[in-house]
Structures are given as C-alpha cells and as structure tokens.
Symmetry: C2
Subunit: 429 residues, 2 copies
C-alpha cells in the first residue's frame, strides 16, 4: 500500500504514476485469437467441439451442447429460499432502474416544414458471455441480461464454459430468472466467434456483452464492427473519499470489497485527516485477517492500494477526475457538493450508508462500469447498448423549396453533381 | 447492375449473396498501423514530422504544425455569399436537431427509499479526423464538430493531412463555423495515434470520430478502449423503395447520388412495377452521361447496383431488414406504413420529395450513419458519442436495512465476504 500526502514534495509525480498505471494484461493474444476466430468462422461447430475438448476437457456431443430451460428452472427452484428472494429482489430493482432508462422516440415538424425524428429499436439478438470458474457471478448474469430484455431484445443467448462439463447452478438460476433463451456450453474466444459469425447450431447475434479473460476481451475487440460490443473491461477499482467522522472499519471494508476481486484490483482512499488515514490502514489489516479471500485482497491492497491525505476536500475533485474511477464513494457531510465537481466516474455512492457493494447487487443501476480511466469517455452498461436509433426525414414541396437550394449549393461545392441533381430535379430546375 | 425478380427461382440465393457482400477493404494493415502507433507513442512529434514528410511531402516546421484560427476565419469570410449562407443554414439546422437530442439527467427516490439517478456529461476533448483529397467535405466537418459542441465538449481538435502543405479552404471555413479549437496539419494513422496518446505539442483527446482510409480506420479500431471512437465506416449505400407513380429520372438521380461517392458504394432499388424498373434503368444511363463523376458512379452502378422487382411492397420490409442499409428512401403513397416495419436502417427518407441528399447537408440529422449492415446494432453519430453517463446511488439507514440483507446473501453466495462485510458492518451485525 502506498501512502501519499498532497503537501509532500513530489506528490504530483507520485500521483501521476498512480494514474498512469493501468494494471492491465500486457499479454499479446491477438494472433492466437485471430487464428481461433478464423477457424470458427470457417469450420463452425466442428471447431467449437475441438476447442471445447481441448480447453474445457469435455465432449459437447456427450455433455450436450446446450443447458436446457428445464435445468435452469430447476436450479432456480432448488435455491435456498433466502437466496432466491435476494435474487428476485435484485432482478426486480435492476429491471425498474433500466426501464426508466428507455429512450423516447422523437417526431416533430420544424418551422421550415421539415418533419424530423428518430426511432429507437432493440437489436434482434444479444449474446452474453458468462465466464466459468471464479468470476461466474449470478449478479453479472442479471446485470447483462435484464437490460437486454428491457430494451426489447427478442433472442438472448448465453455462452459459458463448463470445465469438465460442470455447470454453476447459481448462474443457471439467474439465467432462468432473467429469461435467457439459450445457454450454450462453450467459452473462450471461440464462443465469442460463434456468437458473431454463427455456426450450424448457433445463430449469430447482433451485440455481445459480458466479462471474460484476455482471450475473450481480444475476441470482442477484433469482432467490433461485425457485432456491437460493450466496453473492454479491466480490473475493478474503487476510490473512497471519506472524512474522519466515518467508522474506520466500514471504510476499510469498502476498500477491501474491491480488493478481493483480483490481485490487479485497486482501492484508493482520499481523506482530509492523517489520523483517520492511519486508523483505516490499521482496520484494513484487522478486516483482512477475517476474510477467506484474504490472499487475493491482500495482494491487491499491498500492490495497488493507495491512501492519500489531502489538506482539504477541495483538492479531491481534481484527483478524482484524473483517476476517473469505476466506483467513487463519497462519505462526507455534503457528498453532493463533491459529486457535482466530479466529472469522470462510472458510478458514485453518496453518503455514509451507501457501501459500493449495494450497487453490485441490489441498488438497480448497472454494475458493468468503465474501468482503467475509461469513465472519461464511456458509460456503464444500459438499455442503449442493446438498442439503436434510426433517424427519419420527410419533406413536402414547400420544405424542399425552402432548404433544397442550400443543399444544391453545398453538393456543387463538394463536387458531387448527382447529389445536387437529385434535389434540383425535384425543384423543377 | 444486377436485375432480380422476387418470383424468380433462385431469388433467395441471389439476394443472400447481395446481403453477404460487404464490399469492404480486405487489405490487412494491422501490423503497419500497430508499428506506426507504437512509434508515435514513443517518439511523439518527431515521429509525426517524419511520417508527414514521408506521406504528405511537407516539412511541418516549415509549413507550420497548425492552421491558425485567423486563416480559418478568412477562409469563411472569403466564401461566395451563396455558399456561405448555405453552410450557415446547414450548421443552424444540424445544431437544432442535435440540441433536441441532449439526454436528460435522472434523480429520484424509489419506494424503498433509495435515491437513484444518472448524470450525463460531455467528454473533455474530442478529436475529429478530416481526410485530405477527394473525401474532404465541409459537410462532414459540420456533422462531426457540431454534435461535439452541442454535447458541451470544451476542446475540439481537428487533424487533417495537407498533401504538399495545401489546405482545403472549404474545410477550413467549416471548421471556423463549427467553432473548432485546433487544426493540426497531420493525417493518417499517426495523426490518430497523436490524438489518442498525445505528443509534446498535441494534448490527448477522449473521443476520436470522423472518416478515413483503411489505415485511419484500423488505427481507430486498435485505439478503441484507449479512447472512445465512432463506428468503423464502410462504403456508402442507399436502398430506394419506389412505386411507379414516381418520376424515373428522380429515382435514378437518387440512386446515383450514392453511386458517385466511390466505386464500392451500392445503390439498390426495390419496386413493385417491372416497367418502372426498366424506366429507372434507362434513366440511370441518361443521368450518368451528364455527370462529371460519371466514371465513379458508373463503376459503382455496374458493379454493385441492384434493381429488384417484387410482387408487392409487403415483401419490401424483410428485404430492407436483411440489408440494414445506411440510407432507405421510401417513395410510395404511404411511406410511413413501410417505415414502421423496417427495423434496421441508418436513416429513413419519407415520401417522394425527400431525396437522400437533403439529409447529407441541410435536413439536420447526422449524415454519419452505420454502413455494411451495422444498422442492425449501431446508430448514426449523435451528441451521445461525445457524452458519458455517471450513475449514482444514495441510501440512508432505513434504505440499507430494506435492501442490504439481500445484497449480503448474494455476496456470500458469490464467495465475496468483503462485499458482504461492507454492508453488514453498517447493519450493526
């Protein structure tokens, strides 16, 4: 863990190094992934079967290519009732938040008599990548599938690796609850390729979302343009801005809630009180010792954790904007005043009773958020990722008379006579 | 030009071939571009100067790295008054349409007492790529720069190659009108790299938009995630759906307005009248002979043009949805009835008096639209491409009591104890 003080000489340089460190995988898998995608495109299911046998150690013809709807329903029914109710509450709240996000169509006629508008429609089909193993989270299934459903996507397809053929019942239960249409037992870059190009068994989709390892991320990047994709995701991050009125244990727990995701995760505290900073550092050690995820959380905290004390919270917004963090928690007396000055953040958690983890599960907003300073230019997952907008224009004779001649002048200036002609032939010229 | 009849045997296969033909450059420039980007990232301005000398044949230290604001203003003042007025009308109408597009923030408290919302903000800086040579269009400058300005982007940077140092006065005039802040005389993949990484002279931007050749497109694709980018664009397309009540000359002009862009452009007519189909085919020949862009337009029409006659317009929507064309013109008695059934299109032009070219210049909606069937999942350029959304959540004690336990249950089930702890420590457990 790195301790910084904003009035130390050398603070600007040390902070700039924190900002510049993206903690992202530098492993170059581009060529491997390109070869896999080419193989899936050319050979379809035969390539999927071979690669699944190789990487996941099972034979799709034996284990079954799909997990059927009945299996998902049973997984849901067999959940512990408390957990089932929790999943239902989460689904309901995520649905409500994303329904309020649905964009409105426009249709109006302006003063020149030109009718203008835009219509939003869902994509026909969406594919969700669900990782196997440690990162297979039912909450991620809900956070990806429900916005797609709310957007109006007709066909919702999940691909997920099932190493040795084993499925994750929690993930299947979430798939049932979210109303997923197909669950395919394939993972890796080849599964992403199958979703984009289609195979004999799997029909292609229009948009692919969901987290994955370096191969999956690179496959999505290479297929960007063949399909739509969500933003490439990096390690999770939290920035906590907290004053000394907080309980140090609570702030320590908040910092560790991101640290436990992965050794590359990053937790940063900004406080205006050096003594409180010390108390949080101590509390982190106490909290760590109680976690069964201690090894991961400790690796993250020791390597990437940062505590910064500042002379006053007026220094915090510029630091927060430079970090452009995925999660920003503001535990101060007037969190709103700080939020107004923070331009770049994935999601903001206001006040002392809003630990980031409520946003991971049940608050309603999406937990798929921009990482690695991408909040400077990108947004969390939303219904808009599963929709597209068609603009429309309608002129009558009077409207064309009003604005057509200007278009003719511009088309002539650009050296595009057929553009000009398509208008002038209607102006009777 | 390909003539098809929907009641011919073999129509389905022939049409599927039209849909599958993406007409996009297959040249693999990935390795070249990666090397150029690495060079710009490591050596900054020195790399830009060398590559500009090599590709554009001028010395940036002699010609000047930037075109200054005064030069742009003079280019605008020196425009022919008719052209200046046309450019002003276009700018004003584009601005009005995009202002109506600005998204609304949300802030509400739900029945569980949870305050939820989302705030939209502009990115800090946007970079616009403006090609040199044939494709340097003032209308493109307006269509890229004005949405960025309307979104609230503070710093708007143009990069444009100036072969032999020569600038395009029309483009500079449009830059002045759109309120561009910086115009750099650099182009190619290296200019895109400079915008993304920054150099000694050029500060980095957050989003890069604008058309370019295969190198520019590949540079944007490789930098996706370092910055935000607009959709990768392919050759232009128009689908015209027209009945026999139209003047064949007008429809021919509309088809040629896209054909004249590039030999790889595609123009398709769907009509319910074979005689009208013949008349349009003849009119295209007549129109072609009058165009100074005849060579390009003819190459496009002969190679990629298609005329399809259908038994009735009820067949048109499924064909249009399969094509998912950039531009769809509907010149029938009830264009709205067809539009309602067309789910995938970049922009729709309704009625007999709405030639597509009015949308290229003065109608108001953006002319940067998805090509190559990408209207299935992506939208035209808008203010949203220059903005991002931050969600926020605020709970008080009662709200945390209401929804916190469900989050604890889910965190436990996912094996994330620090997530659970950050909530339970506030529930007093």
């Amino acid at each position: 863990m790195l301790r910084l003080s904003s009035n130390d000489p050398g603070f600007a340089e040390a902070f700039a190094r924190v900002v510049a460190d993206r903690r992202e995988s530098a492993v170059d898998v581009a060529a491997d992934v390109a070869a896999i995608l080419k193989d899936v495109r050319e050979r379809g299911d035969a390539a999927l079967a071979e690669l699944t046998a190789k990487f996941d150690g099972h034979d799709l013809d034996q284990s079954g290519w799909q997990v059927d709807a009945e299996t998902c329903r049973k997984a849901f029914d067999n959940l512990d009732p408390t957990l089932r109710a929790a999943l239902e509450l989460a689904a309901e709240r995520i649905r409500a938040y994303h329904e309020a996000q649905l964009p409105e169509d426009r249709d109006y006629t302006d003063s020149a008599g030109v009718r203008l508008g835009a219509t939003w429609r869902a994509v026909d089909a969406a594919g969700l990548y669900v990782p196997g193993g440690r990162a297979a989270y039912p909450s991620s299934m809900l956070m990806n599938a429900i916005p797609a459903r709310v957007a109006g996507v007709e066909r919702l397809v999940v691909v997920t690796p099932t190493p040795k053929g084993e499925v994750n019942p929690l993930v299947l239960a979430a798939a049932h609850l979210a109303g997923v249409d197909e669950v395919w037992r394939v993972g890796g870059a080849h599964a992403v390729g199958a979703l984009a190009y289609g195979t004999q068994r799997i029909s292609p989709v229009d948009v692919i979302t969901g987290p994955g390892n370096a191969w999956v991320a690179e496959a999505k990047r290479q297929l960007y343009g063949v399909v739509g994709i969500d933003m490439v995701a990096g390690p999770s991050e939290i920035l906590v801005i907290a004053d000394a009125q907080n309980d140090a244990r609570r702030i320590a727990a908040d910092l560790l809630s991101q640290a436990e995701h992965d050794p590359t995760s990053q937790s940063i505290l900004i406080t205006d009180d050096k003594t409180f900073a010390d108390a949080v550092a101590e509390a982190v050690e106490v909290e760590l010792s109680a976690l069964h995820t201690q090894a991961t959380a400790r690796a993250s905290w020791e390597t990437n954790g940062v505590i910064i004390d500042v002379a006053g919270f007026d220094e915090a917004p510029s630091l927060a904007n430079a970090l452009a963090a995925e999660h920003v928690e503001i535990a101060t007396d007037d969190p709103e005043a700080l939020m107004r000055q923070i331009r770049h953040a994935g999601s903001v958690f206001l006040g002392r009773m809003t630990p980031e983890a409520v946003g991971d599960y049940v608050a309603g907003p999406n937990h798929v958020l921009p990482t690695g300073r991408r909040a400077r230019f990108s947004s969390g997952l939303s219904v808009l990722d599963f929709m597209k907008r068609t603009s429309f224009i309608q002129l009558d004779e009077a409207a064309l008379d009003a604005i057509g001649p200007a278009a003719v002048a511009l088309a002539d200036a650009e050296g595009l006579p057929a553009h000009a002609r398509s208008i002038s032939v209607r102006l009777g010229q």
